[in-house]
């Protein structure tokens, strides 16, 4: 189970404290057991309360524009661009 959790952590891109492994493991086991004890219904799974197929997509039109300064104010920026470490050697 610890390896599976580690796999999840890689996907999720964060680390957890050592004591969290056991807590997560216990909770997953409890959930899995409860789910196994219930007979799977022969029914379509519900994704949203409203059926997505009945909706049309809107036109892809720009309605509101934001200026670059506004967008970048929440990030570490340099010369009007988001600054990140070098990715090409």
């Amino acid at each position: 189970m610890k390896d599976i959790i580690k796999h999840s952590l890689k996907d999720l891109m964060f680390e957890i404290e050592n004591n969290s492994y056991k807590i997560i493991e216990k909770e997953i086991e409890e959930i899995t057991k409860k789910m196994e004890d219930f007979k799977e219904p022969n029914i379509e799974p519900m994704i949203y309360p409203i059926n997505l197929e009945t909706f049309e997509l809107r036109e892809d039109e720009v309605e509101e524009e934001y200026n670059l300064e506004e967008i970048l104010k929440n990030s570490t920026s340099y010369l009007n661009q988001v600054k990140v470490p070098k990715v090409i050697e």
């Binding site: 599976i4 959790i5 796999h7 999840s8 952590l9 996907d11 999720l12 891109m13 964060f14 680390e15 957890i16 404290e17 969290s20 807590i23 997560i24 909770e27 997953i28 959930i31 899995t32 409860k34 789910m35 219930f38 799977e40 219904p41 029914i43 379509e44 799974p45 519900m46 994704i47 949203y48 309360p49 409203i50 997505l52 909706f55 997509l57 809107r58 309605e63 509101e64 934001y66 506004e70 967008i71 104010k73 929440n74 990030s75 570490t76 988001v82 990140v84 470490p85 990715v87």
Partner: protein, 387 residues
């Protein structure tokens, strides 16, 4: 910013000095100058909105949530943001309800994924149908996510729904709705309700039964249904699986790179890992791991099964809603399986406070009008039916 908003409120209050009764104003003047609060997981441009998470501790959104935009247009004045569970995903927090019950503001609006606010038995809390009010600008959306209104009267909830509802290009589920909830609120057409045979908490059953008797005396027909207890007992488990699966995906944008508190590292990957490791709480991270676990190839059948059980619960409820207008259940500060049914089906649901307990009323999808009519009658007789 909040000080500026308060100044605006006071200025506006002076302008409308002859109508200082804010409760009347909500109904009469479309909100001009009325103060309110939003939960801190609803986007408000240039006002710090943290979602109660460290990774967004200095985040200033660049856009307004649709609901905030609509309230601003009507002249309501935002005077504060209330604490929320971290990204609306962790433990309960009743700040937005307390702002109303302590008379700080006449109403507040929150974004929630569960029934924690409706489980509080001291205030009126209304969750409109999924697809009734736009969710654009709510942090970490899920298929349970909805806007909830906390107010001191049912008619205030109806009036705010009139203002907030309607088609929005940023939320594909929301459709136009021509109903005027406030005008229709006193035109009750149905009085047949149902309740579950079992209660999911052990206290105050007598008070709830007394309340039922009094509702029957004023003309409601209330029948008892024996729910499939095994199915009901699955509700919180499937809610948790589905919510955490969806949240593990929709919180993936919290990287600390384009916005949010940036961590340290020599590569983009290291920065993201450090930002998320230190920016998200341990409790939230555990929940997200559980969500991701059920998304993995070997475990996805459990997730699929949870969605099927959700279908089954909704199917059973929809059958009952063909016969009855609403489902009622007691509320006693505990998030019960019965309250979560509204999240599963996207149903409209309202909690009304009484002396020591609360009463929750839930109706079928898009039957918000019927629900508010019934709640209005019960609430307006509140003094008489207090137990």
């Amino acid at each position: 910013m909040i000080k500026k908003s308060i100044k605006e409120t006071v200025k506006n209050a002076h302008i409308i000095n002859d109508k200082l009764n804010i409760f009347e104003l909500i109904l009469e003047s479309d909100g001009f100058g009325i103060p309110y609060v939003l939960s801190n997981n609803i986007s408000t441009s240039n006002i710090k909105t943290t979602g109660s998470t460290k990774i967004l501790e200095n985040y200033f959104p660049i856009y307004d949530a649709t609901i905030y935009k609509k309230l601003k247009k009507q002249g309501f004045v935002l005077v504060g943001k209330t604490k929320t569970p971290e990204l609306g995903l962790t433990t309960n927090n009743h700040s937005s309800v307390l702002a109303v019950t302590n008379n700080v503001v006449p109403f507040s609006i929150s974004a929630t994924n569960d029934a924690s606010l409706r489980s509080y038995n001291k205030a009126i809390v209304f969750k409109p149908s999924f697809g009734s009010i736009s969710r654009h600008g709510l942090f970490v959306t899920s298929s349970f996510n909805s806007v909830e209104i906390q107010a001191n009267s049912v008619s205030t909830c109806a009036h705010l729904t009139d203002i907030l509802k309607g088609k929005d290009n940023y939320d594909m589920f929301v459709q136009d709705d021509a109903t005027n909830y406030l005008l229709e609120i006193d035109k009750l057409t149905e009085n047949k309700l149902f309740k579950n045979k079992l209660f999911y908490f052990k206290t105050n059953n007598k008070e709830f039964n007394d309340l039922i008797k009094k509702l029957t005396n004023i003309g409601f027909i209330i029948e008892e249904i024996d729910f499939d207890s095994k199915l009901v007992e699955m509700i919180s488990t499937i809610h948790k699986i589905i919510l955490m699966v969806e949240a593990s995906s929709s919180s993936a944008n919290l990287t600390g790179i384009p916005f949010g508190k940036r961590g340290k590292g020599n590569s983009i990957e290291d920065i993201i890992i450090d930002s998320r490791t230190n920016g998200l709480s341990e409790i939230l991270k555990r929940n997200l791991v559980i969500g991701n676990y059920f998304l993995q190839k070997d475990n996805k059948e459990t997730y699929l099964k949870a969605q099927k059980i959700r279908s089954l619960v909704v199917q059973e409820m929809n059958k009952l809603f063909k016969k009855y207008a609403c489902f009622i259940s007691p509320v006693n500060n505990v998030q019960t399986e019965e309250l979560l049914i509204a999240n599963l089906g996207g149903y409209p649901s309202i909690t009304l406070p009484f002396k020591n307990i609360g009463l929750n009323i839930t109706s079928s999808l898009f039957n918000d009008c019927k629900l508010l009519q019934i709640a209005y009658i019960i609430d307006s007789l509140g003094v008489d039916i207090n137990v």
